[in-house]
Amino acid sequence: MYWNNVETYPGTGYPKNWMEMGGGFDEAGDLQAGVVPNIEADYGVPWDYNHDQLQFGAQLKPNVEPTWGPNWDEDEGAGDFPNDNYFFYIPRICNHCSNPGCLSACPRDAIFKRDQDGVVLVDLDRCQGYRYCIAGCPYKKIYFNPKISKSEKCILCFPRVEKGLPPAFAQQCVGRIRFVGFLDDEEGQVHKLVHKYKVALPLRSDYGTQPNVYYVPPTEAPPKFDAEGRIIEGSNRVPMEELEQLFGPEVHQAMKTLRAEMKKRKETGKSELMDILIAYKHSDMFRLDQEYYQSIAKKSGISLAPIDNRYIQGKNTPNKFKFKVVEYD
């Protein structure tokens, strides 16, 4: 099971139909019941091919009968090809929510959100594999590891973050599409995209988990064609309703801002927002500070990496030897 995946939208996603599997909170703030996906039907089991036998004349075939997998419906999208078909990609990782559904659902206190940076982690010593966290996460971004009978999830590469390095998924991205930083760092790109320009929006914020991964919605899709194959001026293939469902009503204003800034850049050559999105330098994209973590470590009198001792096996559990055997008369 993949902590990080890129899925085609519209599509069934990974796990299959994750948006219909419940979890998250209702308007009153109550946790909603959800379902735990099936490893074969919803995640898909990896398969291999009989390459070794091909030289002996065998037909190429998979070693299991595949029924589902990540990117199963890659690039299919929706609409009528070639007139108005469309799709775009959504990269998805754990949202490290401010109000995590997984944390709320855990009866063992095995999930915690770090005060320092909001990273949501599973204490594997406490986890007993009940899987209520999976039912509670509306993004289905916490997974059950059947081999150890415990839940696992994206750790936002917190050992790297503590050293002032961006998570690997962000630093290695050749498209430079990922920015990482503290939301309250007013000089940071993340703050500017989210709060100053309001063009980066959370995915399905209606689930009530206050997700902390933000997306700049897709503005530029090819225009539609009419019956004669001519371009319909001003048309957009991606229906706004689809974008609204994913990113909320704020998507309208975000699109307006993005288009206006693009125009401004074209006409004047200047736009801070476009400069941010073009992402010239890694140092601008990732404003993480090792000093920050070192100061916390120093204050707590603990060594760095990991600074959070809840993650150390057994640290979050009471000393069993405090329970003295009762001596009876």
């Binding site: 979890g23 959800g34 063992r108 059947p146 069993k320 329970f323 009762v326």
Partner: protein
């Protein structure tokens, strides 16, 4: 001759086995009980006690499918046998389960049948036993858990008989068995037998240093699970003497049972034959309710209990506080009384404050859970009556 006499005695006792009002009698034997398995012949000579396991419905978990499957869960009958040899005690729990669910590797939404046996660390005062659900602050419990796993391994999962090997045949295969077990382990099929120490839901801690020497096993046949637990009477956690409390729980994997979605007994008294003491405990745990339940029901309504707690037939559909529908099945009278007089003595955590509908039923004061329920310091008679009513709250036995 002795054996026949014992057998006859056992038969006559078995006829009266359906008396759950007395304690579970742990028979004394000269033989070593540590080797007992669910199918050991010796169990035939031990008296059975019928007990009831109730659905734990205080909290609703957030698994939609499991909640649908368990919506109308009823209590279940189970039989308990106990035998001790002066150093160790063995329990046999038998319960009906029409679906055999086994833990297998590489399944994300499959749950195993299982059972657990719980003991309080301190039971000197039978009116101050730990909260039945994983103990409570300052009142720790030891819990032994066994989930059903396949004991005959077949590594490729295709029912390939030639690949089957009984893991118990160590003598015949020696190192091969170890290697085989490693291969099977890599396929995520291994025994699921754990011990915990706990002072309430959030503190439940697995004992992993090997200091808890217990063994458990499960065997299925004729729609019945038989589970055994064997443990020392005294170790670094427990000291079981005279008479002591025990509680049993069973999970049905087919109903996606795990954690709180289980069937649970209340604290039951075990009296060790040929051992002195524990009369007070036996009396407390086997006593009939002494109040007037009818009047208790009126008091429950008058005091507005159903404004927050769910009691089927009395409460409105939505509720915030722990459900009381089976509270009479798995709670002792002393616990119910304490909860009325001092609601903060045990506060069932609602996990995150958002986890349960509508409102919080407790607040955090310096890390300690404080119930939003006010104390009801009523007169003794009223409390007895309310407790007598609450003791009647339990689902029908299937």
């Amino acid at each position: 001759m002795t054996k026949i006499t014992t057998a006859l005695l056992a038969t006559s006792l078995a006829a009266s086995a359906l008396l759950a009002d007395g304690p579970i009698l742990a028979q004394k034997t000269q033989r070593d009980v540590t080797k007992l398995t669910p199918t050991s012949k010796a169990w035939e000579y031990v008296k059975a006690t019928t007990i009831h396991l109730y659905p734990q419905t205080a909290l609703t978990m957030n698994d939609r499918k499991a909640n649908e499957l368990n919506a109308k869960a009823k209590a279940k009958e189970a039989r308990v046998k106990a035998i001790h040899d002066g150093k160790n005690i063995a329990f046999l729990l038998e319960w009906l389960d029409g679906t055999r669910s086994i833990q297998r590797g590489y399944r994300s939404d499959v749950y195993a049948d299982g059972f657990a046996v719980q003991f309080p660390v301190d039971y000197r005062d039978p009116t101050k036993l730990p909260y039945i659900g994983m103990g409570s602050d300052g009142r720790p419990v030891v819990i032994h858990l066994q989930k059903a796993v396949e004991k005959v391994y077949e590594p490729n999962g295709n029912g390939d008989v030639s690949m089957r090997q009984n893991i118990l045949s160590k003598n015949a295969f020696g190192d091969d068995t170890v290697e085989f077990a490693q291969k099977v382990g890599a396929l995520a099929v291994k025994d699921y037998q754990r011990s915990f120490i706990s002072e309430g839901f959030r503190s439940m801690t697995e004992i992993k240093d090997g200091s808890e020497k217990f063994s458990a096993d499960m065997k299925y046949g004729d729609n019945v699970w038989k589970g055994t637990l064997v443990r020392p009477l005294k170790d670094s956690y427990l000291n079981l003497k005279g008479a002591f409390p025990v509680a049993f729980a069973a999970w049905d994997g087919a109903k996606l049972n795990r954690d709180g979605q289980k069937l649970l007994s209340g604290w039951l008294a075990v009296k060790m034959v040929d051992e002195n003491g524990g009369e007070k405990l036996v009396a407390e745990l086997t006593a009939a309710a002494k109040g007037d339940a009818e009047h208790g029901k009126e008091l429950i309504e008058q005091n507005g209990c159903t404004g927050c707690h769910q009691i089927s037939g009395l409460s409105p559909a939505s509720y915030m506080a722990p459900g009381l529908d089976n509270v009479g099945g798995y709670s002792t009278a002393a616990y119910l009384r304490e909860s009325l007089v001092d609601p903060s003595a045990v506060v069932v955590p609602g996990y995150n404050r958002n986890a349960h509908p509508s409102a919080v039923w407790y607040n955090l004061d310096h890390g300690k859970r404080v119930s939003t329920m006010p104390p009801y310091p009523l007169d003794d008679k009223s409390l007895d009556d309310m407790v007598a009513y609450l003791k009647t709250l339990k689902s029908e036995v299937k």
